[in-house]
């Protein structure tokens, strides 16, 4: 027995039960109950007859038939829809491709900029070091002849060679 039928085994009203019986939606037990009552109760039978008759009168409602143009116009509408979808899809693909190119270009530019920055920093640092060491470099020949730095410092302290010392210290 399906779950559907078990939920219908306890009708709320007589009409609910009769209608469900007429619609074939009652379980075996409920069908037996209805048929037993039909055989015993004239008013119940009359009620069923009226409900069935009203239902049969619905056969008077006409069934609509589409004309030939309906299919054609429907298919045409759908074709327009398909075309719009294709356009939207194409635009989406173009946008995605553009975005991909932009991303790639940005990545390349960033890489170049980063590389330049690193290189520039390294070269600048080297230059800075050279500038800082320039006084020493200019007198490196003299310094090579001096064995002890403290001797130079003593000379600077006594201010014997003021002009030359300024450059070295």
């Amino acid at each position: 027995m399906s779950d559907n039928h078990s939920s219908l085994s306890e009708p709320t009203t007589i009409d609910d039960e009769i209608v469900a019986y007429l619609d074939g939606e009652l379980d075996t037990e409920a069908i037996a109950r209805v048929e037993r009552r039909l055989s015993e109760d004239a008013s119940y039978r009359a009620r069923l007859g009226q409900l069935q008759h009203a239902w049969d009168l619905l056969d008077n409602l006409r069934r609509t038939e589409a004309d030939d143009e309906f299919v054609q116009s429907t298919v045409a509408m759908v074709a327009v829809q398909a075309e719009q979808e294709a356009k939207t899809q194409k635009m989406r693909i173009v946008r995605q491709q553009s975005l991909a190119w932009l991303t790639l270009t940005a990545a390349v530019l960033l890489s170049i900029a980063a590389g330049y920055a690193v290189l520039h920093r390294r070269m600048t640092r080297d230059d800075r070091n050279l500038v800082r060491d320039l006084p020493v470099i200019e007198h490196v020949d003299e310094y090579l002849n001096v064995e002890d730095v403290s001797f130079l410092k003593q000379l600077a302290h006594e201010n014997l060679f003021a002009v030359e010392v300024d450059d070295g210290t």
Partner: protein
């Protein structure tokens, strides 16, 4: 046992329309045309009786098919194809009827082909009481009478009734289509058919119909409903 993508679902195996829709998913335009051909009349029938206008029903039906097409790439067969299709149709129709109600509230005139407001149940029942002149019903009149009786139902009662009558849907399928419980569907259909009986039985028994001067509508039977989703 867990299903993998390579294993067909129950619906794929047993529902040929599901297989067609899967072909649509794979880009088969002919499969989509075939689905339109199979379902156009069924969809139009339900929608026309739901909204009361052939012209609007055609617009809504085309809207449904366009939505089916738009949803094709993420389609997964988790129900019968007809259940899925009419779920979309139910949503589309509900939105349309809601918009129509809002337009009525602000006094926007209806366009050509729009349905007149449904007659209230009490108006139809009163007409059936026999105070109106008698005339033999012919088939066209009977059809019109039934149409008015259906139009007098609430939107949900009408939808459930149309799905049961024209699509032969089970309570379970109707519940799935309308997003309701099976018990709620059972109540809906019961009330719908009782209302129909109350309106139609006197006409059938006496062969009478209301006079041409029907009173203006005073609302549908929404207040009579106590369905619990």
């Amino acid at each position: 046992m867990a299903l993998t993508q390579s294993q067909p679902t129950h619906y794929e195996l047993h529902d040929p329309d599901v297989r067609l829709m899967l072909q649509v998913r794979d880009g088969d335009a002919a499969a989509f045309t075939e689905l339109v051909l199979r379902y156009q009349n069924r969809l139009l029938t339900v929608l026309e009786h739901l909204v009361g206008s052939r012209e609007q029903a055609e617009d809504l039906a085309q809207d449904v098919f366009v939505r089916v097409f738009k949803a094709r790439q993420r389609y997964e067969p988790e129900a019968k194809f007809s259940t899925w299709l009419f779920t979309i149709a139910n949503n589309v129709a509900s939105n349309a009827l809601r918009s129509r109600s809002r337009r009525r509230e602000v006094g926007v005139p209806e366009g050509n082909g729009a349905d007149s407001a449904p007659l209230a149940l009490d108006q139809l029942a009163k007409a059936a009481s026999g105070f109106m002149p008698t005339r033999a019903l012919d088939k066209a009149e009977q059809a019109e009478m039934v149409r008015h009786a259906v139009a007098a139902l609430s939107e949900r009662q009408r939808m459930a009734l149309l799905l049961a009558k024209f699509e032969g849907m089970s309570y379970q399928d109707i519940a799935q289509t309308m997003g309701l419980s099976v018990q709620a569907v059972k109540s809906l259909l019961s009330r719908a058919r009782v209302n129909l009986k109350e309106i139609l039985t006197p006409y059938v028994e006496r062969g009478t119909r209301p006079d041409e001067a029907e009173s203006p509508p005073s609302g549908t039977s929404e207040s009579q409903e106590q369905e619990q989703p």
